[in-house]
């Protein structure tokens, strides 16, 4: 990754009739960076990607690729490579012809075309498949051809729209490795769309989280996972529990004291705090052994599910609704449905968040959180 900005999205909005698919999205992607657009279905990821590549035109805003405004350019002139969820291989062409398609249009000499196709097939590990037709390949192989086709003419940017969405789990993991290796080897700039946070974690340099057509935040996977800036990021990205707490005082820019039930504790703050506050607690932070100054979560076991090494324990917690914990299987073996239980959370693993983007509290992800009117009054 370099500091040079490859893709510059400035205040881009898109309306389809009455629905605002995108609202004032601003985002920079660096050359060589792997950036993932992550968000629930319908959040506008595909729309943004299609505007970058030229299949939709923005209602407002500008998109710069390599420093030039591309709004007047046809997709052909944008120097982008696109990989689609449903592969979109040309069914009437062989694998080699598919990969060479962009090269032919660029009038590469035949020998160079052939050489480049060979290189690309090496890259995606499909040596010897030149003469096959797409219908003779498995889904994973087709997607690798699609990848090779998009890479062959060395576009300035590679765009992928849920490329692994049509593949089964094992193939997805294998393809993630292929994509990671290619990104590393070619130093390509990639904008990748997915709704799967595991995939985003595994692949990305940075992740842009989208919700309802708006960009929520852009950060590295570590930051987003360990220091989520909003309740949406915490619950959507790390599947964190959100506990209703009261802000007691701000201890500084990145920490605060809060009260949960009778207990008071210090926690981290990563984003902006405004309105009702919640404590984000990751599922693996809930333990059975207490630690110094820990947060105590009391509830009754509603359900337990064995996930192999870990057991998912779902608690009914008064005030907080359902709380999900992932506990080592041996440590959770004694938990039975209906049994009251206490779980302990180390304070340094909690993050104070608010629902930054949603207009009214109690919408979307935090339907279970009760109103905390007094939290509004407390300032740092």
């Amino acid at each position: 990754m370099t500091d040079e900005i490859a893709l510059d999205i400035q205040e881009v909005s898109k309306a389809f009739g009455a629905t605002n698919a995108l609202e004032r999205v601003t985002l920079q992607v660096h050359r060589g960076e792997f950036l993932t657009l992550l968000g629930p279905s319908g959040s506008g990821k595909t729309t943004l990607l299609r505007m970058i590549v030229g299949f939709e035109s923005p209602t407002a805003g500008r998109i710069l690729l390599g420093g030039r405004d591309i709004s007047g350019l046809s997709p052909a002139d944008r120097s982008a490579g696109m990989v689609f969820q449903q592969y979109a291989l040309f069914p009437h062409m062989t694998v080699a012809d598919n990969i060479a398609y962009g090269l032919k249009l660029r009038r590469w000499p035949r020998a160079e075309q052939r050489e480049r196709v060979g290189e690309m097939l090496d890259l995606v590990r499909l040596e010897g498949y030149e003469a096959r037709y797409p219908r003779q390949l498995s889904g994973g192989q087709q997607q690798r051809v699609a990848l090779a086709r998009a890479l062959a003419y060395d576009p300035e940017i590679i765009l992928m729209d849920e490329p692994l969405g049509a593949l089964d789990r094992a193939l997805r993991i294998e393809m993630e490795q292929v994509i990671r290796r290619i990104h590393r080897d070619l130093e390509a700039t990639v904008v990748y769309v997915t709704h799967d946070q595991q995939e985003a974690l595994a692949l990305s340099d940075r992740i842009a989280i989208m919700r309802d057509g708006r960009l929520q935040c852009v950060d590295t996977p570590e930051e987003l996972y360990y220091r989520p800036a909003s309740s949406f990021v915490a619950s959507f990205f790390a599947s964190s529990n959100l506990l209703p707490v009261t802000l007691v005082e701000r201890l500084g820019p990145d920490s605060a004291r809060v009260r949960y039930g009778q207990d008071e504790l210090s926690c981290r703050v990563a984003g902006e705090i405004a309105g009702p506050v919640q404590l984000a607690v990751r599922r693996r932070s809930l333990r059975r052994e207490p630690s110094p100054n820990c947060l105590v979560v009391r509830g009754t076991v509603a359900e337990t599910l064995l996930f192999g090494d870990e057991r998912e324990v779902i608690l009914d917690v008064p005030d907080a609704g359902r709380v999900v914990a992932l506990i080592a299987a041996h440590a959770a073996a004694d938990l039975a449905v209906g049994q009251p239980v206490e779980l302990y959370v180390p304070p340094e693993e909690t993050v104070l968040v608010t629902d930054v983007d949603a207009g009214a509290p109690g919408t979307a992800g935090d339907a279970d959180a009760p109103l905390q009117p007094d939290a509004l009054a407390v300032g740092p």
């Binding site: 052909a76 979109a88 291989l89 962009g102 660029r106 086709r149």
Partner: protein, 282 residues
Amino acid sequence: MAPLHDRNAVTADRNRRERMRHLSDRATRLGGGTVVTIAALLLLIPAALVVALSFSNDKYFNFPPRSWGTRQYHTLFTSPQWGDAIWLSVKIAVPAVVLSTLIAVPAVFAINRSRLPLRHALQAAGVTSLIVPLSAYAVAMYGVFVQLHLLATYLGLVIANTVLAFPMILVVTTAAMSRIPVELELAAMTAGASRLRAWAGITLRLLIPAILAGAVLAFITSFDEAVFINFLGGPGQVTLPKAVFDSVRFGVDPVITAIATLLMLFTSVLMLIALRLRRTGQ
């Protein structure tokens, strides 16, 4: 828990209803099967009759024939009048199909790849000529052909047949286009193709089997056209359907059975080709 005798009564009642239902189901299946069998036979018999009678060796029409042979086919191939009629039919159908293709295919692209208002209404309007009462439509065309001096002309017949034939290509090509993912075009354009090139090299290329299938159906439509020709053709323009029509109208010439059989063979082969083409296009 219900007393024992009650339970027995309930069980007996249920068993009886089960039996009734089984009987009713069997009657339904049997009844349906019988009606369908009779319907299928009634559809097949006239066709089979024509084929069978084409191998009658009688000079005049007899049923059942007194002798069997290939006399009708001999008569057919040695009389020039039928050859002329077939030739005129082909001479009308071929340009009508070409015109139909040139009209329908660009229209399908415009309808599916533009935001033009009313484009879907236009597509629906494209099949008008298939659903208006044909004899009334023929009178309407008669009025226009008189005005444009197209009555009893070759050009007029080509136009009239085009009007009836192009919806075939429109319909078949539209259906095929809806099955080609637009992403293919988009992929081509990102790879560097102009829109025209993406259309021609990808979508149009993939539509070819469907267009050919539509063209075959359009050809059959035109080759078989028997209504407009009566109103618009005048006495001079005798296509094959017109010749058969006149012959049947003024008596049952047994040669017709031979023509009919060959026509059936010809049409069925063309239709199977069209079907195969539509399949490969998918």
